[in-house]
């Protein structure tokens, strides 16, 4: 076998092996999207009920609470960025990071100091490589987050918000994650979690529902005290679940195009290999023919 043909054959083998891997990853990601979507759906009743309750307290009482009132001059803001632990998901992590960068720029432009909290190894690596400061980070659960993970991430954030700004606390809490719109569309979004803006909760709540005057047990302040941390946790949990679904969808898409590309590559490589084989055969034939006629010429010459 000719040297060129051998090289083509080897490349075809290696691309075929890669294609098998990407195909397997595509299928795994596709099956996980469905699971992640189910989890998002399962967590929705809790989130909607909680939002209802928060809206009810916030509108139904005149209580002032650090988590609902806006600071006069907000000086520090916290950003929670959700990225993935693993790569091979196309632009998933970098898009989320870019959204966080934009938000950071905007907040800096408004004269606020920004502290960053990161979930996911990719985000940690990005900030680590650029030697930017991360306040806190969590990794290892972005594939299938549980409520306990959300709770773990929420605890220091809530603590930072309740602290006085002068003592290292923050005035605002933003979250950046990738919203799962459909199998094909996932958008990185940023939203402000705290202080609570009533307009956004009302929008989520559904239009024009009049909330009854609630009786609070034990008191409006205590209810709000207990309710708001849960609200933050639930929002983070929901964001984590959506981000997980988006990650799997992004990975599925990336792996699908990788598989398609590998297929194309195999096709063009086998064309080249065929041409090389054919050229080899042609050469052999012409060599044989040439050799035979040379022999014939030689014997014809000796006859004389």
């Amino acid at each position: 076998m000719g040297a060129q043909l051998r090289v083509y054959k080897r490349r075809i083998r290696s691309v075929t092996a890669t294609k098998k891997i990407t195909k397997a990853m595509e299928m795994i990601a596709a099956s996980r999207i469905v699971k992640a979507q189910r989890q998002v759906a399962a967590s929705t009743p809790y989130a909607t009920e909680l939002t209802r309750a928060v809206t009810a307290v916030a509108t139904g009482s005149t209580t002032k609470h650090p988590l609902t009132t806006e600071a006069d001059a907000p000086a520090r803001a916290a950003i929670l960025l959700i990225t993935s632990d693993r790569g091979l998901a196309g632009g998933y992590s970098s898009n989320a990071i870019k959204a966080a960068e934009r938000l950071t720029e905007r907040l800096r432009g408004e004269g606020k100091e920004v502290v960053t909290y990161v979930i996911g190894r990719k985000g940690v690596a990005y900030y680590g490589f650029r030697e930017r400061k991360i306040e806190d980070s969590w990794t290892g659960f972005t594939d299938s987050p549980t409520y306990a993970d959300a709770k773990r991430a929420a605890a220091p954030l809530i603590e930072a918000v309740t602290q006085e700004t002068a003592e290292g606390g923050v005035d605002e809490l933003h979250i950046v994650f990738t919203e799962f719109v459909s199998m094909m569309t996932q958008n990185p979004v940023d939203s402000r979690m705290l202080p609570l803006s009533l307009d956004t909760t009302k929008e989520e709540e559904g239009k024009g529902e009049i909330l009854p005057l609630f009786d609070f047990e034990p008191s409006a302040e205590d209810v709000l005290d207990a309710l708001l941390p849960r609200y933050v946790e639930s929002r983070i949990y929901n964001a984590l679940l959506q981000a997980a679904a988006s990650e799997h969808a992004a990975r599925r898409r990336a792996m699908k195009s990788a598989t398609d590309n590998a297929g194309d590559l195999i096709k063009s490589l086998s064309r080249l290999a065929n041409a090389a084989r054919q050229a080899e055969i042609t050469q052999e034939i012409s060599e044989i023919v040439g050799g035979a006629s040379a022999l014939a010429d030689a014997t014809a010459g000796s006859d004389k």
């Binding site: 209802r52 209810v223 949990y237």
Partner: protein, 124 residues
């Protein structure tokens, strides 16, 4: 027709139980509270403990609730808890083992959780 209230018992990651009931007894931070149809709108903080739901079919559903909220309006009652389990789902032996372990490890949170589970089963 007897008045009924619609109950939704939801945990953070799933909906645990929903249906019609005539009476719901839960423990808030300021004491036990019973909610019947027509109760005034209420929003309360729940203590860890068993919640008893008397369904309109006359059966009783007991659930272990680990902290959370209760909100009632328009004859609709929502019980929100980070973790909630029906008494039927609880494995008593496992809960007892967890209680033993929590006691020896002096893990007060785990001890409380196991205790709530066992109490919920006892009420049933």
């Amino acid at each position: 027709m007897a008045a009924e209230l619609h109950v939704e018992l939801v945990a953070a990651d799933r909906s645990v139980w929903s249906g019609e009931a005539t009476l719901v007894v839960a423990r808030t931070t300021s004491g036990d509270i019973g909610v019947m149809p027509g109760h005034q709108p209420l929003l309360g903080v729940l203590e860890s403990g068993p919640v008893t739901i008397r369904t309109s079919e006359g059966t009783t559903v007991v659930a272990a609730v680990h902290g959370g909220f209760l909100s009632f309006a328009d004859d609709k009652l929502s019980l929100l808890a980070e973790i909630a389990e029906l008494a039927d789902e609880i494995d008593v032996q496992r809960a007892e083992r967890a209680l033993e372990r929590a006691k020896s490890d002096t893990d007060s949170a785990a001890e409380r959780r196991a205790d709530v589970r066992i109490r919920a089963v006892a009420v049933r």
